[in-house]
């Protein structure tokens, strides 16, 4: 097994585990049956792949020590295709996505469960790569993988890994973050370049290549959030703009808080490659998914302190202000364009599709 994980085939020969995996190159229905084959899959593939992030003891449920403080609990399922894309895989998303959902309510993430639904015929090497990515991401995020499940299903096309992760975290006293807390006058911040993950994935599908490759920005953000909270600022709202992009997140906040938002298009941190790829495919960077970014609503007086803290953190180096919460046009997000016009930033309708017009 290679130390950096995520991109190497498994070496079945090198494993020293009690029940060696039968030499099946692809997953079969038996692996989900709960019997010996399932056990082998867990013992010989998942646990070794998870490395230090996993608990070695396997019981029906993980028994965890008591925590002091409010619990935060989140779950998400991951179905991204392609499973492997520049900068990461479904494994990274599965860990960071749930870690970030916990982080967005101010929680310190502690434990994760991982449940897999594998299509019969999926190559073991793919499963192994995903599992290693999960293990590595969990280690980086400092969360423990404490329980899980595996099922195998029939699948016509014969390849596919769906992952569900559920996560538990604890919220420090005094932290109150929620989408209904935005107030007119507050500042809208973003932690860095937007549109990166979506373009990385789409570039795979559409056969785009980049001179400077665009890699997914998948990252765990709870450390960044902790630094923001440590400034003492009143961080009112946090959101990770995944599916639907920054547009979806800001629209949800605007609706929940009953406020409007004014953005300045010029101030949006869209990297050139993202802008060009979006231009080519006819997409709006504001509607493209991000997996390692957050939007924050903070009082105007706290902007400088919070931005400073964000920029000092590895995952917030590109942090900037992109707009203001306003009383006007409640529940609508509006952007001022380069030439002085305005446009309404709408909730994206559904999938982002390449256009000709």
């Amino acid at each position: 097994m290679s130390p950096d994980g995520g991109s190497n085939d498994l070496d079945f020969e090198g494993w020293t585990c009690p029940a060696p995996l039968r030499n099946t190159p692809t997953v079969v229905m038996g692996h989900g049956g709960g019997g010996a084959m399932s056990g082998e899959l867990v013992e010989s593939l998942f646990l070794p792949a998870y490395g230090g992030a996993a608990r070695a003891d396997l019981a029906d449920a993980a028994v965890l020590p008591p925590v002091s403080g409010r619990l935060a609990f989140s779950t998400d399922s991951y179905v991204v295709k392609p499973m492997f894309f520049p900068g990461g895989s479904i494994g990274d998303l599965a860990v960071n996505g749930t870690v970030n959902d916990l982080a967005m309510v101010g929680a310190q993430p502690l434990y994760l469960s991982t449940a897999y639904i594998l299509a019969e015929g999926t190559p073991m090497s793919d499963i192994g790569r995903v599992a290693m990515a999960v293990g590595k991401a969990a280690e980086q995020a400092g969360v423990q993988l404490v329980t899980g499940d595996t099922k195998v299903v029939d699948h016509g096309s014969g390849d596919g890994i769906y992952v569900n992760t559920a996560g538990v975290g604890v919220i420090p006293d005094g932290v109150e973050i929620g989408p209904e807390r935005a107030r007119p006058g507050d500042a809208v911040l973003v932690s860095g370049a937007i549109g990166v993950h979506g373009v990385a994935v789409m570039s795979c599908r559409e056969g785009l290549e980049f001179t400077t490759p665009v890699e997914s920005d998948s990252a765990p953000l709870h450390g960044l959030v902790a630094d923001m909270l440590a400034t003492g600022a009143d961080v009112r709202v946090l959101r990770d703009p995944t599916r639907g992009g920054v547009s979806a997140s800001l629209n949800e906040i605007a609706r929940a808080s009953g406020v409007g938002m004014d953005l300045v298009e010029r101030d949006l941190p869209v990297p050139e490659e993202v802008r060009d790829a979006c231009g080519l495919l006819g997409l709006d960077p504001l509607q493209v998914a991000n997996e390692g970014k957050l939007v924050a609503i903070v009082p105007a007086a706290d902007v400088d302190a919070v931005l400073e803290a964000m920029r000092a953190h590895r995952f917030g180096s590109g942090a900037c202000r992109i707009g203001t919460v306003v009383e006007d046009h409640p529940r609508m997000v509006v952007a001022r364009t380069g030439l002085g016009g305005t446009r309404v930033i709408d909730l994206p309708l559904g999938e982002q599709l390449p256009r000709i017009c």
């Binding site: 001179t211 231009g279 080519l280 002085g340 000709i356």
Partner: protein
């Protein structure tokens, strides 16, 4: 109808008997069919629509057009800032 984007030809090659090109759109590269502009050379710019180069982009012409726009500024003194006037009229903030 017309989402067509200018890009620079990096490489020209044959594929299944058709002339294709690797085109650079300022950092994004894509394979484009060059069959309608077979004389295009590496380093030249083309306009691409749905994976096909439909016309050459004439760089000289582009520069001239931009220069014309620049020169318009000279007349601004005589006619005043119409843009700002229009914006004021419409209540648009600049």
């Amino acid at each position: 109808m017309c989402l067509a984007v200018p890009g620079r030809v990096l490489e020209v090659f044959e594929e299944s008997g058709t002339t294709m090109a690797d085109v650079d759109f300022g950092g994004v590269r894509k394979k484009v069919c060059l069959a309608y502009l077979p004389e295009t050379g590496v380093g030249e710019y083309v306009i691409v629509h749905v994976g096909f180069a439909i016309q050459r982009l004439d760089e000289e012409s582009a520069k001239e057009t931009l220069a014309t726009f620049e020169r318009l500024g000279i007349l601004e003194e005589e006619f005043g800032d119409g843009f700002a006037a229009a914006a004021r009229e419409k209540g648009v903030e600049l």
